[in-house]
């Protein structure tokens, strides 16, 4: 099947480049490394250490995933290898999906290696906390896939690599660096317009707060370690809602990218 061949080729290609190793090292540092540092430098309980490591990982992993993904299509478009690939049986859909799966596998391998290393660090330095490792790795893994999807979607929708890079940086700034501002802006505007009273916290505002993949991942992790129910009365405190949000973050950007790529001239 074309999708699998494209994905395998993409992964093999990445394996020959230094990117796989750079990404793995980067992920390893931001997960296991930071956890080890925090664990050794303080007397905090294991849960707190994981919490800190998680907060750092949701800052660093998104940019790694976006950088990995944003050239998926534009890189091939600029080098012309997309023309060679599309002159063979794979369709644009096959190429896009194959590329997404290849980059996803790359990020997941790195995240898994980082997660396992984190577990080892925690067990050796703190002695315990392995029960937190599964939600730690799972939420981070889901988040990185979502950011890979955003990056691949951007790549598929962009005519040039430069533009894809700009959009990827923009996505990072908006979702990760500046989302507090966005949230405050939305809230302020809603108060100005008389939609809500100052200081009130309606459900849709909670949704805005949780909207970016990194925020959703935090919600998944926190509700899981807090012994949260999968289906609680309050969707924002239950596990299913942020997970569904993350899944939407995987499907929608790739779908949007496909529609743009389908109608693009590959000249």
């Amino acid at each position: 099947m074309s999708v699998r061949t494209v994905a395998r080729k993409d992964l093999a290609d990445a394996g020959r480049s230094k990117s796989l190793w750079a990404v793995t090292l980067l992920v390893l540092f931001t997960t296991a490394g930071i956890t080890a540092l925090v664990g050794m430098a303080s007397d905090q309980p294991t849960g707190e250490v994981f919490q800190l490591a998680f907060q750092l990982a949701v800052l660093t992993l998104p940019i790694v995933a976006l950088v990995i993904a944003k050239g998926a299509i534009t890189g091939e478009r600029e080098s012309g290898s997309l023309r060679m690939l599309l002159s063979l049986p794979p369709s644009r859909y096959d190429v896009l999906l194959g590329k997404f799966l290849g980059r996803t596998a790359l990020m997941l391998v790195a995240t898994l290696v980082g997660g396992v290393a984190t577990g080892l660090v925690v067990v050796t330095t703190l002695g315990g906390g392995l029960d937190l490792l599964v939600p730690f790795v799972a939420s981070l893994g889901l988040m990185t896939v979502a950011f890979v999807a955003v990056g691949v979607g951007i790549s598929a929708a962009s005519a040039s690599d430069g533009r894809a890079t700009a959009f990827a940086v923009g996505a990072y700034m908006t979702f990760v660096a500046l989302w507090n501002l966005v949230q405050a802006g939305v809230q302020g505007a809603a108060v100005e317009l008389g939609l809500i009273e100052a200081g009130s916290q309606p459900a849709w505002l909670e949704f805005v707060a949780m909207f970016p993949p990194n925020r959703a991942a935090v919600a998944v992790y926190q509700s899981t370690v807090a012994g949260g129910q999968v289906f609680a009365a309050d969707p924002f405190a239950s596990v299913w809602f942020p997970v569904a949000l993350l899944l939407a973050w995987i499907v929608v950007p790739v779908g949007f990218g496909y529609l743009r790529l389908r109608d693009a001239d590959i000249a």
Partner: protein
């Protein structure tokens, strides 16, 4: 069934018609040269055939399959060297061919194909990023040959090849054609087309200005052959009364005339020999360059046949 059928194809980029109402049929089993100056619309036409760009209006099919709707089956059965293609810099030449074998569900031996295109065993294990343009072209051709395609589409395949490589490419085109493949290739280099094409189509400003065999085009153009006779003494009177011989000139011990058909050459030579001894004969066929120029330039010689009258667009 026709190998390629293009019906009333128009592709606009903004206000510009890159291809303008093109009709073209390439019959199964022929070698078809697609000729035209850069910017004439050759690449846009091929981009439509390969489903790289969608036509503004009109339709195209290959092997009876719609180029967009049936692209997967179609691309399994054709081989392509696209224009401006790129290779995977980190993958070896052999890996490229293996990838194409995989994607086409073919069973070719990559090394046999690489032998055919002349990429040496040492080179085929190197990453393609280190290849010269000529090596890249050879590899691209090997990829195109995967799966013994029924139709080969080669967009400017000689670019970057040295004369030796160009000759080998011609041999491969002939061999593939003998195997039964239809070959459609574009070029702005005339002699490449002249050497192998059964028929040529000449594209200008997005329109087809001529489709015919090289011989017919040459004949229809009425270009004739320029016959130069070196003589021991110049005849008193220029032999300008022969039918089918024109532009007769006498100067510097040479009698020249343009002969419009083969018989006229002999008649011309005989006439000159009545008056003088011919010491040397030179005959220059009207070059394809002239023919090409007369088709594609606005100010074609008024004496020449109206190019449009020789257009024989298949339908």
């Amino acid at each position: 069934m026709a190998a390629i059928e293009i019906r009333d194809l128009t592709k606009q980029f903004g206000d510009v018609n890159a291809v303008d109402g093109l009709d073209l049929t390439v019959e199964s089993g022929e070698v078809f040269g697609f000729l035209g100056p850069n910017g004439a619309g050759k690449s846009t036409t091929i981009n439509v055939l390969l489903d790289f760009v969608a036509p503004t209006t009109g339709s195209a099919s290959m092997l009876g399959l719609n180029v967009a709707d049936d692209r997967e089956e179609l691309h399994r059965r054709i081989g392509v060297v696209p224009e401006n293609y790129g290779l995977y810099d980190r993958l070896s030449g052999r890996r490229h061919v293996e990838l194409a074998v995989d994607l086409k569900d073919a069973s070719d031996d990559p090394d046999a194909l690489l032998d055919r295109v002349g990429l040496s065993p040492a080179d085929r294990d190197r990453p393609a990023g280190e290849y010269s343009t000529g090596m890249s072209q050879r590899l691209a051709l090997a990829v195109a040959l995967v799966g013994s395609p029924e139709l080969l589409i080669l967009d400017e395949p000689t670019g970057g090849l040295d004369p030796n490589g160009a000759r080998e490419l011609r041999e491969i085109i002939v061999a593939e054609n003998e195997r039964g493949a239809t070959v459609f290739f574009s070029s702005h280099i005339l002699e490449q087309v002249e050497a192998v094409a059964d028929r040529v189509g000449i594209l200008q400003d997005g329109r087809l200005v001529a489709v015919d065999s090289i011989e017919h085009l040459r004949r229809d153009l009425d270009g004739g052959a320029r016959v130069s006779l070196h003589v021991d003494r110049e005849p008193d009177r220029a032999p300008s009364d022969l039918p089918n011989v024109r532009d007769v000139a006498v100067a510097d011990g040479v009698v020249e005339g343009t002969c419009l058909e083969p018989g006229a050459k002999l008649a011309f030579i005989d006439r000159v020999r009545e008056a003088a001894t011919v010491t040397d004969v030179r005959i220059e066929e009207s070059s394809l360059e002239d023919m090409f120029a007369s088709y594609t330039s606005e100010g074609a010689d008024a004496n020449r046949a109206e190019p449009a009258s020789s257009v024989e667009v298949q339908s």
